[in-house]
C-alpha cells in the first residue's frame, strides 16, 4: 500500500526525524502542559510558543472508521477499498491520528479496540507512523 510521501517542513522536521527512529512524538507546551498533534507554531490552549517534543508511549484506541472507495487522491486509487480509521492517543484522547489499520480487512475495523503504533516503509525508504491491534 504505497502511501503518499510526507514532505517535512521546518516545524515538522523533528517529528519526521523521530519517526525514522521509530518514535512517535507530539508537542507539549511548557507553559500549560497541553499536548498537541499535528505540530503548530503555538500552543492551541494558551498561545505560548514555548513548545517541546514529547515522546508518547504509542498506545491508542480506534475511535471510528470509514472506507475509501473512490478517492480524490489518484495515487491511492489502486489500493481501494482502503480502511481509514481515526485513532485516539491513550495519553490524551483529544489527540488523534489517521490510520489505514494494516492487517484489518476492509470494512472490518474493530471500533474501540486497543492499538499500538508501528512504522511502515514508504516507497522512498522512509518510515511513516501507522497503528495496528495491540499485541
Amino acid at each position: 500500500m504505497p502511501k503518499l510521501i510526507p514532505v517535512p517542513d521546518e516545524l515538522s522536521q523533528p517529528f519526521w526525524d523521530a519517526v525514522q527512529q521509530r518514535k512517535l512524538l507530539v508537542q507539549r507546551c511548557t507553559a500549560c502542559s497541553t499536548l498537541q498533534y499535528p505540530p503548530k507554531a503555538a500552543c492551541q490552549e494558551c498561545n505560548a510558543t514555548t513548545l517541546e517534543w514529547h515522546e508518547t508511549d504509542g498506545k491508542g484506541h480506534v475511535l471510528e472508521f470509514v472506507v475509501l472507495q473512490d478517492t480524490h487522491l489518484p495515487f491511492r486509487g489502486p489500493d481501494q477499498p482502503i480502511n481509514l480509521a481515526i485513532v485516539t492517543l491513550d495519553e490524551d484522547p483529544r489527540i488523534n491520528f489517521f490510520s489505514n489499520m494494516p492487517g484489518e480487512e476492509p470494512f472490518k475495523v474493530p471500533v474501540g479496540v486497543a492499538v499500538e503504533v508501528m512504522f511502515e516503509e514508504l516507497t522512498d525508504g522512509s518510515l511513516i507512523h501507522e497503528w495496528r491491534r495491540a499485541q
Binding site: 504505497p2 502511501k3 503518499l4 510521501i5 510526507p6 514532505v7 517535512p8 517542513d9 515538522s12 498537541q36 498533534y37 499535528p38 492551541q44 475511535l63 471510528e64 472508521f65 470509514v66 472506507v67 475509501l68 472507495q69 473512490d70 478517492t71 480524490h72 487522491l73 489518484p74 495515487f75 491511492r76 477499498p81 482502503i82 481509514l84 481515526i86 483529544r94 489527540i95 488523534n96 491520528f97 489517521f98 490510520s99 489505514n100 470494512f107 471500533v111 514508504l122 516507497t123 511513516i128
Partner: protein, 441 residues
C-alpha cells in the same frame, strides 16, 4: 478598490445586529444550470451567465443596470483553482479572443471583467476587490447598504465546472504531501472524500444514537431531490430528474463508505445574482421585501487534532446557532423555513439539531426525518432542495427563503406559516448563516 473587512460579524457575543430589519433582498436571478461549460458556446460562459443572472435579478426587482451603484462580483473559483482541468481552462487549452483571453470570464468572473463586458453598469461607484463566497458575500452586501457604501448592491456568485474529474488534479495528484496535507493525505484522508471532515462525526453519531446511515440520510436526500424538481431553474428540472429512489440511493456508487455519490453535491456551471437595498427603498420596488435580520461570518476551525470529532463538531455548531439566534433576536421556535447548507449530506442532521428547528434536539434527527418533512407537511425541512436537489450552485437555500417569504415558491410553497427563514452556504463549522423575515421587526 481596497476592501474594508470591518463588516464581518465573526465573533461570539455580538448581540442583535444593529441593522436588523433595515436592509432587504429585493431581487434574485439564476442563469441556466449546466453540468459543464462545453467550451464552444460563448453565450453560456460563466461571464455571460453572470450577466444573465444579474439581468434576471434586476427584472425581478424592477430595476435597471444603471441603478446598481454597488457591485460585488465574487471572483472565486468554486471548482478550486489549480485542482485540475475541471477548474481551469488553461494552460492545457488555448484561450479565446477577448473578452475570453484568460480565466476571467471562463472559470472566474471579476468586477473588472464584468464592468468591461457589461457596459450598462454605468452607476457603479462601490466595487471592492475581495468578495467572499455567497455565505459571507450576502452579509457583506447587506453591510455595504446598511453602512451607506451604496444604495443598491448587486451580488453575483458563480459555480464553474469544465471537463475533467472534480478536484482530482493539482496537489491531490501528487505522490507526496506537503504543508498541512502531510498530516492526512498519506493515509488517504482528504477534505472531499471525508465530506469536509463530517463523515466520521456522523458515523460516531450513528454509533451513539443508533441507526443506519441510509435510514438517516436517505430520507433527507430524497426530500431534497423532490423539492429540486419543484424548482424551475434547478439542474434536475432543466436536465432531467435524477429519478432517485430509496433503492437506488442504497445501491448507489460508493465514495467513502458509507457515503455514496448522492451524498455529495453535483458540480455545475451556473451563476446566481441577488440585489439588496435599504428597507425604505425596498418598499417602492416590485416585490415584497425580504428583510435581513442577521448575518454572521467566520469559521470555527476543524478540531484540535488530525480529525474533528463528533463532540467538537456539535459544540461548534451550537456556538454557530447561538450567534444566529442572538444576532437576529429570534428563537428556534420562531424559524419557519430552514435551509441549511447541504453540499455534503452530514451537514444536514448536525445543523438541524444544533439549530433545534421544530424542536429537534440531539439524537432526534432520525425520527424527525422519517416523519413527514415534505413541503406540503407540518415540518417542511429544506424546502429549497439545496445543492443536493438542484446542483452545486449554493444559491437554492437563499432563493427558496426569498420565495417562501414572498409567497411565490409555487409548488414548493409551504402550507405552514412562512414569515422567517434561516438560509446558509455554511460548510461544516462555517458561521455564515443568514436570517430573513418578511417583517422588518
Amino acid at each position: 478598490m481596497t476592501t474594508d473587512m470591518n463588516w464581518r460579524r465573526d465573533q461570539d457575543g455580538l448581540g442583535v445586529w444593529p441593522h436588523r430589519g433595515k436592509v432587504a433582498i429585493v431581487g434574485w436571478g439564476m442563469s441556466p444550470v449546466d453540468r459543464r461549460w462545453d467550451g464552444v458556446s460563448m453565450d453560456k460562459t460563466l461571464g455571460a451567465y453572470s450577466k444573465l443572472a444579474a439581468e434576471r435579478a434586476l427584472e425581478d426587482a424592477g430595476l435597471k443596470p444603471s441603478d446598481i451603484d454597488g457591485l460585488l462580483m465574487c471572483p472565486n473559483n468554486m471548482a478550486g483553482a489549480g485542482s485540475g482541468s475541471s477548474a481551469s481552462w488553461g494552460p492545457a487549452r488555448p484561450y479565446f479572443d477577448a473578452p475570453y483571453d484568460s480565466e476571467d470570464g471562463l472559470t472566474i468572473v471579476t468586477n473588472n471583467w464584468l464592468r468591461k463586458y457589461w457596459t450598462d453598469l454605468t452607476g457603479v461607484q462601490y466595487a471592492p476587490d475581495q468578495i467572499p463566497d455567497i455565505g459571507e458575500g450576502l452579509g457583506m452586501a447587506a453591510e455595504a447598504v446598511a453602512q451607506g457604501k451604496c444604495d443598491y448592491a448587486l451580488y453575483i456568485y458563480t459555480a464553474n465546472n469544465l471537463e475533467g474529474r472534480y478536484r482530482r488534479g493539482g496537489a491531490s495528484a501528487q505522490d507526496h504531501a506537503a504543508g498541512p496535507s502531510q498530516w492526512n493525505f498519506p493515509w488517504g484522508g482528504n477534505v472531499i472524500d471525508l465530506q469536509l471532515w463530517t463523515t466520521v462525526p456522523l458515523r460516531q453519531y450513528l454509533r451513539k444514537y443508533g441507526g443506519e446511515w441510509d435510514d438517516l440520510i436517505g430520507p433527507m436526500i430524497l426530500n431534497e431531490h423532490r423539492n429540486g424538481m419543484m424548482t424551475s431553474w434547478g439542474y434536475y428540472t432543466q436536465n432531467g430528474a435524477s429519478g432517485l429512489t430509496v433503492e437506488e440511493y442504497a445501491d448507489a456508487r460508493p465514495i467513502t463508505w458509507p457515503a455514496k455519490i448522492w451524498d455529495y453535491d453535483r458540480p455545475v456551471n451556473a451563476a446566481g445574482a441577488f440585489i439588496i437595498t435599504s428597507a425604505e427603498r425596498a418598499r417602492d420596488l416590485r416585490q415584497k421585501p425580504v428583510y435581513i435580520m442577521n448575518h454572521n461570518e467566520g469559521f470555527l476551525g476543524m478540531g484540535r487534532s488530525s480529525h474533528i470529532t463528533m463532540d467538537e463538531y456539535e459544540a461548534g455548531m451550537a456556538r454557530i446557532a447561538k450567534r444566529s439566534y442572538d444576532g437576529s433576536g429570534l428563537k428556534p421556535a420562531d424559524i419557519d423555513i430552514f435551509n441549511p447548507y447541504d453540499g455534503f449530506s452530514p451537514f444536514l442532521p448536525f445543523s438541524l439539531e444544533a439549530f433545534q428547528w421544530q424542536g429537534v434536539g440531539k439524537g432526534d434527527a432520525m425520527a424527525f426525518v422519517n416523519g413527514d418533512i415534505s413541503v406540503e407537511g407540518p415540518h417542511p425541512l429544506h424546502s429549497g432542495g439545496g445543492n443536493l436537489g438542484n446542483g452545486r450552485t449554493r444559491t437554492a437555500m437563499y432563493i427558496d427563503g426569498i420565495e417562501q417569504l414572498r409567497g411565490t415558491a409555487g409548488k414548493r410553497q409551504v402550507n405552514v406559516k412562512a414569515e422567517t427563514a434561516i438560509c446558509a452556504y455554511a460548510p461544516a463549522l462555517s458561521s455564515s448563516y443568514l436570517v430573513l423575515s418578511n417583517q422588518p421587526s
